[in-house]
Symmetry: C2
Amino acid sequence: MVQLKNDLLLRALRKEKTERPPVWMMRQAGRYLPDYIKLRDKYDFFTRVQTPELAAEITIQPVDQVGVDAAIIFSDILVIPQAMGLEVQLIESKGPFLPKTITSQKDINALITDHVDENLKYVMDALALTKKELSGRVPLIGFAGAPWTILCYMIEGKGSKTWDKAKQFAYTEPQSAHSLLQKITDITIKYLKAQVKAGADTVQVFDSWAGSLSPADFKVYAQPYLLQIADSLKNDAPVILFPKGTWYALKELSGSSASGIGLDWCVSPQQARELTSNKITLQGNFDPAKLLAPIPQIKQWVKEMIDGFGSQNYIANLGHGITPNVPVDHAKAFVEAVKEYKPPSGSPL
Amino acid sequence: MVQLKNDLLLRALRKEKTERPPVWMMRQAGRYLPDYIKLRDKYDFFTRVQTPELAAEITIQPVDQVGVDAAIIFSDILVIPQAMGLEVQLIESKGPFLPKTITSQKDINALITDHVDENLKYVMDALALTKKELSGRVPLIGFAGAPWTILCYMIEGKGSKTWDKAKQFAYTEPQSAHSLLQKITDITIKYLKAQVKAGADTVQVFDSWAGSLSPADFKVYAQPYLLQIADSLKNDAPVILFPKGTWYALKELSGSSASGIGLDWCVSPQQARELTSNKITLQGNFDPAKLLAPIPQIKQWVKEMIDGFGSQNYIANLGHGITPNVPVDHAKAFVEAVKEYKPPSGSPL
């Protein structure tokens, strides 16, 4: 196994001392990069995801071009519903569409839950190839969607502002909802373990729609499954949980088996540290819209963000995926600002 | 002036004792009501808003049919951009569209800020007529959009998931953004004062997109303008502020001139009371998706919600507008559950 030349991310997740915070950006391999757009114009989404050579190339682009401290495998959270037997279409600029959705316990019973590493072999192949091509330059991040978020798509069949149908299912058929969440959890655990075996140094669990739930419902429909995943992976690789919009859960999640918590920008760095009693590594939480501001302003804000979190037990990132309209220079400025970070004089490293 | 027969809402806003919490629902005059749909099929949106007889009829429908403790005037927050000279189109099920958006200081300079009570005379006429027709049955609520939310629409021209353009404008041209926010604030204050004069017993300010901002940015781009409005109205009528998604601002807003704060469901009743030190009347925060659950379950959840907030200094409401797919019986069950509320035995009223 090749020794990592830059292991800042892994050290931050282990709460070890780092010279500076590691930095990566959610959706860093994506539509703001001209070289990504060239491949997108040539190959459709699932061809890009399912062809290891293409996925590896896309995954490594931001390492080469933007200078991030980690690569995250180019894939999609909806490969899990696909592997469970549901058709998923991904139309550019329209988002995902599942022609057949889950409407009953019978539909849930019909879902496939075994052979995940065979069905998603192309992800493992992409990870292995990327790992090889990175040759230790930076760590490789694997990922999956969280059970609540996957349930949302399986029931609604597409994006939603309110996730009404998913919630209606959960509130009127809680037993079925829990059986579905458990099925997704079981397959996700197997999937993430396979990703680690294939080369992922750490894994992130994206609960993009957790914030649609009240604090009480998050504890019923999302948190238990996030904790199961974190517990099951704890001897495999560090886990980063990213339940977007759930500031209210920070205290409890900071005592979980996870190594890191991702944050959106709707909590201040100081509040997040307070709510987690500095017990866990935090990741985030720059508003991607701020990458549209002039570069000197971006750099100033990044400095303020790191001052807020402190430079230790911290991973600099955005609070959500980078948007297609961000100039590459601005993304680079974000990364550079983290690399140039100097703590306020007099403060400990 | 007719004496109010049911002044529960106003007493709750004045922090006076109430036998039970008052209850109303955001968007209670709307698409879940078959009688509303009949009028919608006959008259387009702005005809309904601009014809006092229609607006009054729609406003009173939920008082008659669902039994709420307040009427809220049927109108739209985008009448303000309209009155300022921007065209607003409202296409059913597609949302608002402004063909010409604000892109520069020049555009801002060209906005109309006077004659608001003449330009929006139809709102005042609708309020006066509704007030007369209600003949004191329940209080009448006026409303406006908050400056940040109105700016979002003026710059984007339509709804957005991220409000990127609005934020880009704010972050790159802060001086222009503030001049726009101040103009909207000034006209909104005049507009709300005119609404009170025309018959509104209280006014609510909807900051629907405040939650797109970080805590630091909320303090710069939203909070100061909300406070200006609350301060300016304090001798006119009680003001309810509803900055959706800004749990982090609760502490500061609880010390403002406002009489009430509206809450979405992403904060628990107990947390909200704690963050506001029980200093201000709270309103909310039932997840509208929960109205899709079976009626006995709705009633149980309502009871738990009121137990959480306590029955005093509290206005039962949803955490966001009622959705079109809610059965009328379920909306009624929500209202009935509040009316039937009995505090846990042994606890003070």
